[in-house]
C-alpha cells in the first residue's frame, strides 16, 4: 500500500469547466460513466484521482466503481503521458531478440512501471505490440525517434540525449 511518487495534478479551471459541462449533459442518463471518462481523458490526457473524484461526485457513482471501470479498460490511463513517450516493442520478433530485458532495464533506470510516468513528467513508459520494424529488432521508440538493434547497455546513453 505504499504510495508511489506521482506527477502533481495540474488541472486548470478551464479544464474543470469543460468537464463539468460534459457531466451536466450526461446527468440522469444510464451508462453515462464510460462516455464521460472518454471525454475527461480527452480534456486532461489521463484520469488521475482528482478527475475521477469530480466524475464520481458529479454522476453520483462511487469512486471505487469509477476506478474499477478505469482499471478494467486498457484505453483509460490513470497516469499522464510524459514529455517523451517511450514505447518498447514486445512483438514476437523483438521479444525473441530480448526486448523484455530492455524493458526491465528501462523500468530500473526510470523507477517506473509500464503505464506510468516519472514524477517530473519527462518520461512515460508503454509496452507496445509489433510496430512493423522487425528487421531492427529489438526496437524502442521515443516520441517519433526509432532506436533499433538495441542492447541493454545502450539505453542509458540514449536517455541522456533527452
Amino acid at each position: 500500500m505504499e504510495e508511489k511518487k506521482r506527477m502533481p495534478f495540474k488541472g486548470t479551471k478551464e479544464q474543470e469547466q469543460q468537464l463539468m459541462e460534459v457531466i451536466e449533459s450526461y446527468k440522469g442518463t444510464d451508462g453515462a460513466v464510460i462516455p464521460v471518462l472518454h471525454a475527461a481523458q480527452d480534456i486532461y490526457g489521463y484520469l488521475p484521482i482528482e478527475v475521477q473524484t469530480m466524475i464520481a461526485e458529479g454522476l453520483n457513482v462511487p469512486l471505487a466503481e469509477i476506478y474499477g471501470i478505469v482499471t478494467f479498460y486498457t484505453q483509460f490511463s490513470i497516469n499522464p503521458k510524459g514529455q517523451y513517450k517511450i514505447g518498447v516493442c514486445l512483438g514476437t520478433a523483438c521479444y525473441v531478440k530480448g526486448s523484455g530485458d530492455i524493458l526491465e532495464k528501462i523500468k530500473e533506470l526510470l523507477g517506473i512501471d509500464v503505464g506510468e510516468c516519472t514524477p517530473d513528467g519527462k518520461f512515460s513508459l508503454d509496452a507496445t505490440r509489433c510496430i512493423g520494424a522487425c528487421g531492427l529488432a529489438p526496437v524502442m521508440t521515443i516520441n517519433d525517434d526509432v532506436y533499433g538493434r538495441l542492447t541493454v547497455d545502450d539505453v542509458a546513453d540514449i536517455f541522456s540525449k533527452y
Binding site: M1, I49, Q52, T53, A56, E57, V61, P62, L63, A64, E65, I66, Y67, G68, T71, F72, I78
Partner: protein, 581 residues
C-alpha cells in the same frame, strides 16, 4: 399467486412464479451449493457453483438467478453438474491461500465447506499464485485478498445494500481484485466500518481487527483495573457461537463467562443506553420546545455517523450530540464510578464487547476522551469474545446464570431493546412521553416502530402534540429517508438510524452466519426477539425509572444536559470528503 410446476431430480415441485431454481430446490429439500449468492444482498450468478442441468438446454445454468418455468426438468446433481462444479472449485482453490489451520474462519468458511461437500481431495492445478498485500491499517476491518475468491458479496453489500461503495472489483482477468479506489487503504476511503462486508464474506478475506491480545494483556496486568461492558445485542447472538439456537438470549452465562475470564468488574452497556435516553430525550424535548434543529437524529451507531459525515454533511446539526451508550458509560466509569470507589482512573482499563466493528473506530476518535482519559480503552466484537471464552477453557454451556455487578446491576427493558432497529426510538418515547405529560404513562410498547421493514414511520401524540417519527436501518434505507427530507417531501421531529440492516443484532461484529442459514432464518427478527423478550421480563422498562440512573444524576450530573453532562457525555462531528477520509 401464479404457480409453476417443474421437476427437480424427477420430483414434481410446485412453487410461485418468480422463484429461482435455487429457491425451488430448497423448498423441495434439495441443497444446491452456492458461493457468490447471498439472500437479499448478492445474486450475480458469477461463481458457477450452483450450476444445474436443465434437460434440453444447451449449457449448464446458474440456479441462483435462473427463474423457474412451467414444465422444465432440472438435474441438480448429475455427473456432468458435479464435475463442472468440482473443476470450477479446484480452479478457485488453485489461487487461494489455503492456510486454513491458522485462518480466523477455520471451520466456519463456506469455501472450506464446499471443498468438503464437493469432494475435492487434491488441487490438480498448480499455477502462478498472486501475492497480495494485507490491508490492516483500519482500526476495524482487515482485508486479506489472498483469501478472496472474488465472489463480490462484499461489493454488493457495500454498494447496493449500504450504498457506501468503498470497494469494487478493479483490474481485469488474473489481476482482478476487490479494492478501494486507487488501491488506497480502507482507512483512507469512505468506508464507514460497519463490517457488513465481513458478515457477507464466505472466507477469511474480510475480518475484524483482532484486539483479543490487548484484552488478555490488560487482564494479566496486576496494575490495571479492568472493567468490561457488554452491548445489548451481544447477549442475543453470543450463544450461536456455542451451539445455541438463533435467538437464544444468554445474558446470565455471558456475565458468568466474563467473570471467569478475569475481568475485575462486569457491567452492562444497557446502563449506558439508559443514560443516553436521559440525555437524548432531554435534547429532543429542548429542541422541540425552543425551536431547535429538527428532526433530531440518533447518534448511537458509529457506522451511521461516519456515513453522515461523508454523504450527508448538511445533516450534521441534526445529529444528537450524545456519544453512543458505551462511550458514555466508559466516561461515567472513569469519573463517577472511579471517584465513588476510590479508584485511580488512569489505572482503569475499560473494554467494550460490541456487536459492531465500527465501535473500534469510534472508540479511537480523538473526541472520545475527557481530561486525557480515553472513555473506552479497547473494543472487541461478539466473535472475539467467543474466541476468548474458547481459548480460556470455559465450558460456556455448563456455566451458571450470573448477574452483572453492583451498582448498575439491573438496567431497564428500554436499555436492552437498543440492540434492535426501532429500539432506541421506543426507549426514547417511553421517557419523553412521561416527561412531557409530567406523569407515569401506561403505554410502554410502540409496535409501530418495531419490525424489520426498511423504513418505519409513525405519528405519536404526546401531551397534545403530534411527534412525527421515522426509523431506518441499513444505510441504503437511511439514504432514502434523508433524501426524502432533503427534497422537502417528508418532515419529522425525531429519527432513529442504525447502520446495519436489522440494527445491532445483525451488526458487523456478530457471529457469522452462512448463506444457507440466511435462506432458512429471518436472522434480524429472530435475534431481535431475544431482546424484546428480555424487555418484557424486565422489572423496570423506562430509563428514567432506573434507580442507578436516578442516583447518578442526583449525586453527580445534576440534571440531564447539565454542564458536566455535556463535558462527559456529548460530542461533535466533522464533515468529511464524500469518497475519501
Amino acid at each position: 399467486m401464479d404457480m409453476v410446476n417443474l421437476k427437480i431430480n424427477g420430483q414434481a415441485v410446485t412453487v410461485p412464479a418468480g422463484y429461482t431454481i435455487l429457491e425451488a430446490a430448497r423448498e423441495a429439500g434439495i441443497d444446491i451449493p452456492t458461493l457468490c449468492y447471498l439472500k437479499d444482498a448478492s445474486q450475480t450468478g458469477s461463481c458457477r457453483m450452483c450450476v444445474v442441468e436443465i434437460v434440453g438446454a444447451r449449457a449448464l445454468q446458474a440456479a441462483c438467478v435462473y427463474p423457474v418455468a412451467e414444465g422444465i426438468e432440472v438435474l441438480t446433481h448429475s455427473p456432468k453438474v458435479k464435475q463442472a462444479r468440482k473443476s470450477t472449485l479446484e480452479l478457485l482453490l488453485s489461487n487461494h491461500d489455503r492456510s486454513c489451520l491458522t485462518c480466523v474462519r477455520n471451520k466456519n468458511c463456506e469455501l472450506q465447506t464446499l471443498s468438503e461437500e464437493l469432494g475435492v481431495s487434491e488441487i490438480p492445478f498448480q499455477g502462478e499464485m498472486i501475492k497480495r498485500e494485507i490491508d490492516d491499517l483500519s482500526p476495524s476491518i482487515v482485508r486479506n485478498n489472498n483469501k478472496c475468491v472474488l465472489c463480490r458479496r462484499c461489493v454488493n453489500v457495500c454498494k447496493n445494500v449500504q450504498t457506501v461503495g468503498a470497494i469494487d472489483v478493479t483490474e481485469r482477468g488474473f489481476k482482478s481484485q476487490i479494492a478501494s479506489p486507487f488501491n488506497m487503504p480502507l482507512s483512507d476511503s469512505n468506508c464507514v466500518n460497519c463490517g457488513q462486508c465481513i458478515a457477507a464474506c464466505p472466507t477469511g478475506a474480510l475480518t475484524e481487527k483482532d484486539n483479543t491480545a490487548d484484552v488478555f494483556d490488560a487482564i494479566a496486568d496486576p496494575e490495571k483495573y479492568v472493567i468490561v461492558q457488554t452491548a445489548p445485542a451481544v447477549r442475543a447472538a453470543l450463544g450461536e457461537e456455542f451451539g445455541y439456537e438463533i435467538g437464544t438470549p444468554v445474558t446470565g452465562k455471558m456475565a458468568a463467562a466474563l467473570r471467569r475470564l478475569g475481568f475485575d468488574r462486569v457491567f452492562d452497556t444497557d446502563t449506558g443506553a439508559d443514560i443516553t435516553i436521559m440525555e437524548e430525550g432531554t435534547e429532543l424535548i429542548e429542541r422541540i420546545k425552543n425551536g431547535g434543529k429538527l428532526p433530531l437524529i440518533t447518534s448511537c451507531s458509529p457506522g451511521w455517523i461516519k456515513f453522515c459525515e461523508h454523504s450527508f454533511p448538511d445533516f450534521l446539526d441534526n445529529l444528537s450530540s450524545c456519544k453512543s451508550p458505551h462511550q458514555m458509560f466508559g466516561a461515567v466509569l472513569k469519573s463517577y464510578y472511579a471517584k465513588k470507589h476510590n479508584l485511580d482512573p488512569k489505572k482503569m482499563f475499560v473494554v467494550s464487547v460490541m456487536p459492531c466493528v465500527a465501535k473500534k473506530f469510534e472508540s479511537q476518535r480523538e473526541e472520545m476522551e475527557h481530561e486525557h482519559l480515553r472513555d473506552v480503552d479497547c473494543v472487541i466484537s461478539t466473535r472475539e469474545l467467543a474466541k476468548m471464552i474458547r481459548q480460556s477453557g470455559i465450558n460456556f454451556k455448563s456455566l451458571p446464570d450470573e448477574k452483572f455487578d453492583i451498582p448498575f446491576e439491573e438496567a431497564t427493558g428500554a436499555g436492552v431493546i437498543f440492540g434492535a432497529t426501532g429500539g432506541v426510538m421506543e426507549a426514547a418515547l417511553r421517557t419523553v412521553a412521561d416527561v412531557l405529560e409530567n406523569k407515569n404513562i401506561d403505554k410502554l410498547e410502540y409496535h409501530e416502530v418495531r419490525g424489520t421493514e426498511g423504513i418505519k414511520e409513525a405519528t405519536v401524540n404526546i401531551a397534545g402534540k403530534d411527534i412525527r417519527v421515522a426509523v431506518a436501518h441499513g444505510l441504503g434505507n437511511a439514504r432514502k429517508l434523508l433524501d426524502s427530507i432533503r427534497s422537502g417531501e417528508k418532515q419529522y421531529e425525531f429519527i432513529e438510524i442504525m447502520a446495519c440492516p436489522g440494527g445491532c443484532v445483525t451488526g458487523g461484529g456478530q457471529p457469522i452466519v452462512n448463506a444457507k442459514t440466511y435462506m432458512e432464518h429471518d436472522l434480524k427478527a429472530e435475534r431481535a426477539k431475544a431482546l424484546y423478550s428480555e424487555d418484557e421480563r424486565a422489572a423496570i422498562r423506562k430509563s428514567h425509572e432506573n434507580p442507578d440512573i436516578v442516583l447518578l444524576y442526583k449525586e453527580f450530573f445534576g440534571e440531564p444536559g447539565s454542564h458536566l453532562a455535556h463535558e462527559l457525555l456529548h460530542t461533535h462531528y466533522t464533515a468529511r470528503n464524500r469518497y475519501t477520509k
